[in-house]
């Protein structure tokens, strides 16, 4: 499905989380297109390699990421990226996060530790984010327990969701944009 010819501005929101937490499921549930996948390759000079050999050792890393799209109005198009949260993908983050509106950290209580690094990076980058607990079946933890376990500050919104459901994923995105709007309005008042 092509974009309207009047589309002028691409915006992005990044959904981060560990493997199998439901990032692609969330993208799929709200996207107007079947999620697409692309790859980015990075070639990095080897670190700690003896360069007396005259040949610089390089390693190439390939990371796949999924994305979907929502046409918001005649001009604005929102792209949603599912980004792997693990530490070894750090190099992808700078590219994905530059100019992003904000991020959703999708967490799974079976592997909460997977989200620590992601949250740390987002705070370091100064990227605003919300945390969404993707919950299948009966809840096993309260949101307060999750907030404690993640050592999440009180001003970061934390919500429960079912990433398979369009309305639920939509509500998570609305929570994020409301959060951004509050931050942005507060900033305008103080400046």
């Amino acid at each position: 499905m092509p974009l309207r010819s009047s589309a002028t501005t691409g915006l992005k929101i990044v959904i981060v989380g560990g493997f199998g937490v439901g990032k692609t499921t969330m993208v799929k549930s709200v996207s107007e297109i079947r999620p697409l996948s692309t790859e980015e390759t990075m070639t990095r000079a080897g670190i700690g390699v003896d360069d007396a050999q005259g040949v610089e050792a390089k390693s190439t890393t390939t990371v796949a990421f999924d994305f979907g799209r929502i046409s918001l109005n005649d001009e604005l198009v929102l792209y949603l990226f599912g980004a792997p949260g693990q530490e070894r993908f750090w190099f992808l983050w700078d590219r994905l996060f530059s100019g992003t509106l904000g991020a959703v950290v999708l967490v799974d209580t079976r592997r909460l530790a997977d989200s620590w690094y992601a949250i740390d990076r987002l705070e370091h980058h100064g990227t605003p984010f919300v945390v969404a607990h993707n919950q299948f079946g009966e809840p096993t933890h309260t949101l307060d327990q999750i907030r404690d376990a993640l050592d999440l500050s009180g001003d970061v919104p934390l919500v429960a969701c079912d990433a398979r459901r369009r309305e639920s994923s939509k509500a998570v995105l609305i929570t994020l944009v409301n959060h951004l709007h509050a931050l942005s309005s507060a900033r305008q008042v103080t400046s």
Binding site: R4, T8, T41, L76, G99, G126, H181
Partner: protein
């Protein structure tokens, strides 16, 4: 299953870009919208021609990469060629105000309305 990029012969990517590995300026974001300014011409490199056909309607850099099954960095090199020769235009993402890094509330309001109407 489509073949993975990393299983491809590296020569292909080398050929596509004429051996270039990076673009100097950061002309494109993942969500920069690209629009063709004309039709492909005979003898044009096939990837350039495909981009011009794909971008008859605006298409984001990342979508072009997915369609061509090429890494984003390679697509950016190809797009630079086309931009330099005036065959495409790039609609850049609205930059966040430098001092705040937060988008302005009016634009966020539009995003909110768009999401609520989904």
């Amino acid at each position: 299953m489509s073949p993975r990029l990393e299983d491809e012969v590296p020569d292909r990517l080398y050929m596509v870009t004429g051996g270039r590995s990076s673009v100097t300026d950061d002309a494109f974001d993942l969500v920069t919208l690209i629009v063709s300014e004309g039709d492909p011409t005979p003898g044009m490199q096939s990837e350039h021609a495909r981009i011009l056909r794909l971008c008859r309607s605006p298409m984001a850099v990342v979508e072009i990469a997915a369609e061509l099954r090429l890494p984003v960095s390679v697509v950016c090199i190809l797009l630079c060629d086309l931009l330099d020769t005036g065959r495409i235009t790039a609609r850049n993402p609205r930059p966040a105000p430098a001092e705040t890094r937060l988008p302005d509330p009016d634009m966020l309001k539009q995003v909110l309305v768009g999401l609520q109407n989904l």
